[in-house]
Amino acid sequence: MRKIRPTTNFAFSMIAVLLSVLTVVPLLFAIIISFSSEASIAKKGYSFIPSEWSVASYRYLMASMDSVGRAFGVSVAVTVIGTILSLWLIGTMAFVLSRKEFPLRRLYTVLIMIPMFFSGGLVASYVVNTQLFGLKNSFLALILPQACSSWYIIVMRTYFRDNIPNELIDAAKIDGAGIFRIFFDIVIPLGRPIFAAVGIFEAFAYWNSWYYAMLYIRPERKELYPLQYLLYSIQQNAENIAANDNISGAVLKNIPAESFRMAVVVIITLPILLAYPLVRKHFTSGMLTGAVKE
C-alpha cells in the first residue's frame, strides 16, 4: 500500500485515537460512577471526576449475594450449558451437511435454510414455547430457543468441507470407526479453530442474553433471573433487590442505589473484558468463513 504523507498520517491517526476514545468512554464512565460515593452523585450528578470516591456499591454487591450472586450463577450456567449444547447442535449438523455421501443432504440444507428467510414470528413461538413446551418460568427457556443457528451451521459446514480431508474420514471408516467416533476423534480436533470461533460468539450471546428472560421468566421466579435481566429489573429501583436479601439494617438504610447499578454493569462486563484476548484471536476467522458459500 502506498505510504500516505506524514501530515495525512497524523490526521488519520488523530481520528483513530478519537474514535477509540469515544468507543470506550461510556464503559469508563460506568466504572467511575460505580466507584463514586452517593453523596458525590447527589451533589454533582454522574461525573467523570466525582468529589468523593467510594467502594460502598461493591460492599453492597457483596452483601446482596443472594440475588446478585445467584444471578451470576444462573448466567454462568446458561453460558456454559448453552454454549456446549449450541456447539453440539451446530457442529453435528454442519459435519453431516459437509459429507457428500449423505443422501438427505439437499433436504436437510433446505430445512435449515427456510428459517433464515421465514419465521413464525414472536406470538407464534411464544405461544408454542409456553403452552406446548411449558417453557414459562423454566431454566430451559434461557437456553433452548437460541441454541441453534442456521448461519453458524453454514459457516462450519464450509470450514469442514475445506479443511477436513475426505481421505482421512474414508480411512477411519475402513478401520471400522463409527460416525460418532469420527466426529469426536477427527472432526472436533481438526475443526478446533472454527469450534473456538463459533463457541466464543455463542458464549457471548448467552452471557449477554436478556430477551428470553424478559419473555419467559416472571417476577415470581426471580431466582431464575440471569445477571442481565437482574440489571434490567433494578434499573428502575435498586430497593427491589433488597427484598429477598438478609442485609443488615445499617447497610440497607443507605443503599448506594446509583453506584450499585453501575457496579452490576461492571461485574457483567468484567468477564467480557477478561475473555477479550480470545475474541481478538478468533473474531475474524469466525466472521470470514461465513462469507464463503457453496
Binding site: 500500500m1 505510504k3 500516505i4 498520517n9 488519520f12 491517526s13 483513530a16 485515537v17 474514535l19 477509540s20 468507543t23 470506550v24 461510556p26 464503559l27 464512565f29 460506568a30 460512577i33 454533582k44 450528578g45 454522574y46 467523570f48 453435528t92 453431516v96 449423505f102 436437510y108 427456510i114 428459517p115 433464515m116 428467510f117 419465521s119 413464525g120 414470528g121 406470538v123 407464534a124 413461538s125 411464544y126 405461544v127 408454542v128 414455547n129 413446551f133 441453534c148 460416525i179 466426529f183 449477554n208 436478556w210 430477551y211 419473555l215 442481565q228 440489571l231 434499573q235 447499578r261 453501575m262 454493569v265 457483567i268 462486563t269 467480557i272 475474524t284 466472521m287 470470514l288 462469507a291
Partner: protein
C-alpha cells in the same frame, strides 16, 4: 443411517423451535382466547374463533401503525447506508496509518461495544441522558442552559438512536473490512506504485473493487432485514419511555408490546406475519438481484 442419528438432535430442535411455531401463524386469523387447563391444540383450533382478516383490518386502522412503519423503514434505511459507508471509510483510513499498534488498538476498541448487551448499553446511555444526574444536563447547566428531559423529548431520539446504533455496530463491519483489505495481494499495490499511482487512486482502483464482494453480501443481508429492527436498541436504549414512542417505536417493539403488555395476540401475530412475508420477499428479491449482477455472490 448413522448420519441421521448424529444430526437427529438438531433436526428435532429445528422442528420444535422453527417449524412448530409456523402453526402459530393461524393466530393472525383468529381471536385467540386460550381456555386455562385445556391443551394447546384445543385452544388454538377449537376454542378460538376464526375472524378472517379482522386482525389485519384493525391493525391498519390503528393510528400508531403509520409511525411504526415509517420509523422501521426510516431507521433501517439510514442504518443501511451508515453501516456500509462508515466502516469502509474508517477501514481504508486505518489501513493507511503508519502505526501498527494504533491500528490494533483502534480495532480492539471498535469491537468492544459489539460484545455489550443492550441492557448494559442502556445504562451507559442513561449515565449521559438522565434528567437530574446525567452528564449532558450537567454540561448544559454548567453552560447556563436549561436541563433537558431527554427521555420525554421525541425530537432528539432519531439522533440518539442513530448514534447509539452506529457506536455499537461499526466495529464488527470495520474488523471484517480490515481483514479483507489486509488479505489483498500486496503485489497489486506494488505494480500500481511502479506505474505512479497515487494512494487515492489505489483505494479507488484496487482496494474498493476487491472488497466489493464482501460489501455486497453484507449489504444484501441487511437489506433482507429491512423490516426487522434491533429490539434492544428501540426498547432498552429508550427505556421503553412512553412519551417518545412516536419517534422510537418500530414493528418489533410494537409486536412485543401488543403481546406482552396488552395480551393482544391477534394484532401482534398479524403484524409479525406481514413483517415476515414482506421481509422474505425482500430477501429473495435482493438475493436474485445480486446474483444477476454477480453470479458468484448471494447467500443461496
Amino acid at each position: 443411517m448413522e448420519f441421521i442419528a448424529l444430526s437427529l438432535p438438531t433436526i428435532i430442535w429445528y422442528i420444535a423451535f422453527c417449524y412448530m411455531p409456523l402453526f402459530g401463524i393461524v393466530i393472525a386469523f383468529k381471536r385467540y382466547s386460550p381456555v386455562p387447563g385445556r391443551s394447546f391444540i384445543y385452544n388454538l383450533f377449537v376454542a378460538s374463533p376464526f375472524t378472517g382478516l379482522d386482525n389485519f383490518r384493525f391493525l391498519f386502522i390503528n393510528p400508531q401503525i403509520k409511525a411504526v412503519v415509517r420509523n422501521t423503514l426510516a431507521y433501517n434505511f439510514i442504518f443501511l447506508i451508515l453501516d456500509t459507508v462508515l466502516p469502509i471509510a474508517i477501514a481504508v483510513m486505518l489501513s493507511h496509518i503508519y502505526s501498527d499498534r494504533l491500528r490494533g488498538i483502534t480495532k480492539s476498541a471498535a469491537m468492544l461495544p459489539y460484545f455489550m448487551s443492550w441492557v448494559v448499553v442502556s445504562m451507559f446511555l442513561f449515565a449521559f441522558l438522565s434528567t437530574d444526574k446525567g452528564f449532558l444536563n450537567s454540561v448544559l447547566t454548567e453552560l447556563g442552559q436549561e436541563p433537558v428531559r431527554w427521555y420525554q423529548e421525541p425530537a432528539v431520539w432519531p439522533f440518539i438512536l442513530i448514534l447509539t446504533h452506529t457506536w455499537k455496530a461499526y466495529g464488527y463491519a470495520l474488523v471484517l473490512y480490515m481483514a479483507n483489505i489486509t488479505s489483498i495481494d500486496p503485489g497489486l499495490y506494488e505494480s500500481a506504485m511502479v506505474d505512479g499511482a497515487t494512494a487515492w487512486q489505489m483505494v479507488l482502483k484496487i482496494t474498493l473493487p476487491l472488497i466489493r464482494p464482501v460489501v455486497i453480501v453484507i449489504f444484501l443481508l441487511n437489506l433482507g432485514g429491512i423490516l426487522n429492527t434491533d429490539f434492544g436498541l428501540f426498547y432498552q436504549a429508550t427505556r421503553n419511555s412512553g412519551s417518545i414512542i412516536s419517534a422510537t417505536q418500530t414493528i418489533d417493539v410494537y409486536t412485543y408490546k401488543a403481546l406482552m403488555e396488552q395480551a393482544n395476540y391477534g394484532y401482534s401475530a398479524a403484524a409479525s406475519l406481514i413483517q415476515n412475508v414482506i421481509g422474505c420477499i425482500f430477501l429473495i428479491a435482493a438475493n436474485t438481484l445480486i446474483k444477476r449482477i454477480d453470479p458468484q455472490e448471494g447467500i443461496l
